[in-house]
Amino acid sequence: MNAIKTTAFYLIVAIIVVVSVFPFYYAIITSFKSGTALFEVDYWPTSFSLRNYADMFRQGDFGGNILNSVFVATLTVALALLLGMTAAYALARVPFRGRTPLLLTILAVSMFPQIAVLAGLFELIRFVGIFNTPWALILSYTIFTLPFTVWVLTTFMRDLPVEIEEAAIVDGASPWVVITRVFLPLMWPALVTTGLLAFIGAWNEFLFALTFTSSDTTRTVPVAIALLSGATQYETPWGIITAASVIVTLPLVGLVLIFQRKIVAGLTAGGVKG
């Protein structure tokens, strides 16, 4: 009886793993096919050709798109961490009136539907003159990276011991010094977590990237992949699409797997403890 239960259990585990991994695996083996092989359904790798990967970089400006994504995501993270860290100190360590309503308002911002600010942001970006530049994206991404970052960093900072801070204050440290010299080293895990999640969020973002950029050279990767088209309008270049997908996803999957625990901790800190 026990053997049946154990087998059934492992069967379920196997199903879960296969269902999770198969679509990506299928995309990988498709990306290695070329020509007519693409139009046959194979469940195991049949060919190994890097032609799709070579072709991919000749499409539009894919290499440039990748660089754009890296640039935008990195600066978005830096901005979110800087603003989030300073705000978290005020929210976590200094009691003042209106603190809780403020925290709730920040949380509420993260629930804004992006489309609701699209029209207003469009006008703002045109007005400032940063349309079709990475700055438009870096600016607009703060609407979803900042609330989350502030929330998680505040939760984390609240748990830091008071004694260290008091000792520093007694030694005459200004609040800025307290943040950079005392708290920053202790906050390292939380910074990595929120930084990673903000990076992933910025990397994957589509709506703002689609609307605020209009030329191949400024586009980011998600928009580039969505707009990939073949020589004629009826031909969808599945080989290139899967190759681009694999290239763009492998680093992300790698990052997520390496920093698993931190990412899970960050997600659940917002959801469970908050």
Binding site: F9, I12, V13, I16, V17, V19, V21, P23, F24, Y26, L38, E40, V41, Y43, L83, G84, A87, A90, R93, V94, I106, A108, V109, M111, F112, P113, Q114, A116, L118, A119, G120, L121, F122, E123, L124, R126, L139, L146, V150, P175, W203, N204, F206, V223, I241, T242, S245, V248, T249, L252, V253, L255, V256, L257, Q260, V264, L267, T268, G271, V272
Partner: protein, 313 residues
């Protein structure tokens, strides 16, 4: 001594205000101001090409009643636009079904991962993969799997004899929503599973030990002990997912473009805003979506409070 301490306190509060300023400025610039502008635009006739030249038209974008010279009464506006209500229906249909499925499946996967078995780390890593893949990439990958001519889904179903001819999953209005749901469930169940798992792992093991000693049936254990204890975490996860689902855009836009069976409120709004150059009209729709989400949050909080009040232990 007290004077020094309160001076220190005042200094700290001043510093706190200063530190909050950059973040507040950023949020006002990127969230509050654009939202107010969008709401403003919805009351004008602004066009994409002339953003500053809009004139006030009141509620016309929402609902306008006009009597023609022939005597016929004409209703215009998004509140009487069948395309809009179709989008509202699509959005709610999608949100409720996807969150329900994801919660149940997520909980099941979490229960599996909560048990101790060999290869647990591998399984946990495997389920993170759908979540790690960018939404656009998932949409393209599944579009390939769902391809009517060369797709794997049709191939398997045909081989298993479950269908008699190839189905155009993403193009046909009957199956488009199903395709979208499959992809979203695949992509988001890991997230729900992780949140549920965190909730499950906060339950002390002794409770399970005690129930095992008492000989309580596992199903009873689940419904009487596990479920009530994991409910708070579950409720938070559900509301976050629900709000996310109501504003969905990326998946629909890339997997089933131009499909009236799946267009959600966000998709329709953007279409009007940018593609059709009905900027003010699209702004009105965006505002309506914002109101719907705001109402949902208020409703949820109100229901939650009522629940808490009635359940005084």
């Amino acid at each position: 001594m007290p004077a020094r301490r309160s001076e220190l306190r005042a200094q700290r509060v001043r510093a706190a205000r200063l530190f909050l300023l950059p973040m507040m400025a950023a949020l006002i610039l990127v969230a509050a101001w654009p939202l107010l502008r969008t709401i403003y635009f919805s009351f004008t006739d602004t066009t994409l090409s002339d953003l500053s030249g809009g004139r006030w038209v009141g509620f016309d974008n929402y609902l306008s009643v006009r009597t023609l010279s022939s005597g016929r009464v004409v209703y215009r506006g998004t509140l009487v636009d069948p395309a809009w209500w179709n989008a509202v229906w699509n959005t709610f249909r999608f949100a409720i079904v996807s969150v329900a499925i994801e919660t149940v499946l997520g909980l099941m996967v979490a229960l599996v991962l909560n048990a101790e078995f060999r290869g647990r780390a591998l399984a946990r890593a495997a389920i993170l993969i759908p979540w790690a893949i960018p939404t656009i990439v998932s949409a393209k990958m599944w579009a390939w799997l769902f391809n009517d001519q060369f797709g794997m889904v049709n191939d398997i179903l045909l081989k298993l004899g479950l269908i008699s001819q190839k189905i155009a999953w993403t193009a046909s209005p009957d199956t488009a929503m199903l395709a979208v749901l499959v992809v979203d469930v695949w992509k988001t169940t890991p997230f729900m599973a992780l949140l549920c798992l965190a909730g499950l792992q906060m339950i002390p093991r002794d409770i399970y030990e005690a129930s095992r000693i008492d000989g309580v049936h596992p199903v009873q254990v689940f419904f009487r002990i596990t479920l009530p204890l994991v409910k708070p975490a579950l409720m938070v996860a559900v509301i976050f997912r629900l709000l996310d689902a109501l504003r969905i855009f990326d998946l629909i836009y890339v997997l089933t473009p131009n499909s009236s069976a799946t267009k959600t409120m966000s998709v329709v709004s953007r279409e009007n805003l940018i593609d059709f150059d009905k900027f003010a009209y699209g702004s009105a729709q965006s505002t309506l979506l914002f109101l719907i989400i705001a109402l949902s949050v208020i409703l949820y909080i109100w229901l939650g409070r009522v629940d808490l009040g009635g359940q005084k232990q």
